[in-house]
């Protein structure tokens, strides 16, 4: 799932300080799971902003809501009736949801309330780690189910670089060397012969190098 982290309150205060009516819109999807932009985080941010502006002597109406998924238009439609009431909106959804909210209400000012970080897993509550970079051409079948694009700092394709030491990456000793993990996994699977086979250069045109991407599925389009 997409992982995000809440923006510092002071940054949000600076963004919205000149408005009088504000809607904070959370998302019940990924950002609820990583506790960055769900209903509870919406409540906390709204309470914090109300405290700040009240003590500053400024009257501000701050309303709270969440959508099932801000990245789907159907779930934004219920906001259409009330969007006009607000000077601005803060989206606590990921960058996708925030942009989609702005697309749905083009006349409204929409600010992000979270920093969207990566696609990853919940290692435990409050501990998330990157696992996929959406390169558009999955090579997990060749690498023992561990992605060198997401797990290797250099996105190496043929094995570890010289910076790999005792299973750790030279970028940071807390980062596991992706290729060390791949080697250990392939050894467990009895597939170390994969290292004998040269890997063809990766076609990065399916990644960001090909510009903004789009999927067109004519088979399921309505």
């Amino acid at each position: 799932m997409i992982k995000a982290i809440g923006k510092p309150i002071e940054e949000i205060i600076e963004l919205v300080k000149d408005y009088e009516t504000l809607l904070i819109a959370g998302c019940d999807g990924c950002v609820t799971v990583c506790e960055a932009g769900g209903l509870k985080e919406v409540n906390v941010l709204a309470a914090a902003l109300r405290l700040y502006f009240t003590q500053a002597g400024k009257k501000m109406q701050i309303d709270e809501t969440t959508c099932t998924r801000q990245c789907e238009r159907e779930y934004l439609d219920p906001l259409a009736d009330r969007a006009d009431q607000y000077d601005a909106m803060i989206s606590l959804a990921c960058g996708v949801g925030c942009q989609h909210l702005a697309e749905r209400f083009p006349e409204k000012i929409v600010y992000p309330g979270v920093d969207t970080c990566f696609m990853g897993v919940n290692l435990e509550r409050g501990l998330y780690a990157e696992r996929c970079q959406a390169c558009g051409k999955c090579i997990l079948a060749e690498t023992g189910g561990i992605c060198p694009i997401a797990r290797c700092s250099k996105r190496m394709l043929n094995g570890p670089c010289g910076g790999s030491s005792k299973g750790k990456c030279e970028v940071n000793s807390e980062i596991d060397c992706g290729w060390h993990l791949i080697y250990e996994r392939l050894k467990t699977l009895g597939q170390l012969e994969r290292f004998q086979q040269p890997v063809s250069p990766k076609d990065w045109s399916t990644s960001r190098d090909g510009g903004p991407r789009k999927i067109v599925r004519e088979d399921i389009r309505v």
């Binding site: 309150i9 509870k40 309470a47 914090a48 902003l49 405290l51 009240t54 003590q55």
Partner: protein, 124 residues
Amino acid sequence: MRLQYPANIKIIKVPCTGRVDITHMLSAFEEGADGVFVAGCLEGDCHYLKGNLRARKRVNYVKQILDKVKIGGERIEMYNLSAGMGGRFAEIAREMGTRIKELGPSPINLTEGRRESHIGEEAA
């Protein structure tokens, strides 16, 4: 025991301080509390194992928020004491009451149209 503690403290009982959420603590300040203290069991003595430890983390988080929104993190505190420590409870109540009196009313209560200040407290 007939121990005396400040009469302007409102006690909110919860089954465990693990139930006390960030939103509850912020709500208390929004409602006009000048200060809040969370009284949990002694560390290591939680019936639910980690309730009081989680409460402490949340109180520390709320302290950071209160500092950022200019209310002041020193207006909230976490204490650990057992149900048998009535004397300590009264002492904490007086200690917190004194701290809040020294700080003065919450900035929320100094703005126009707000009701008279009072001290709020959460205890478990």
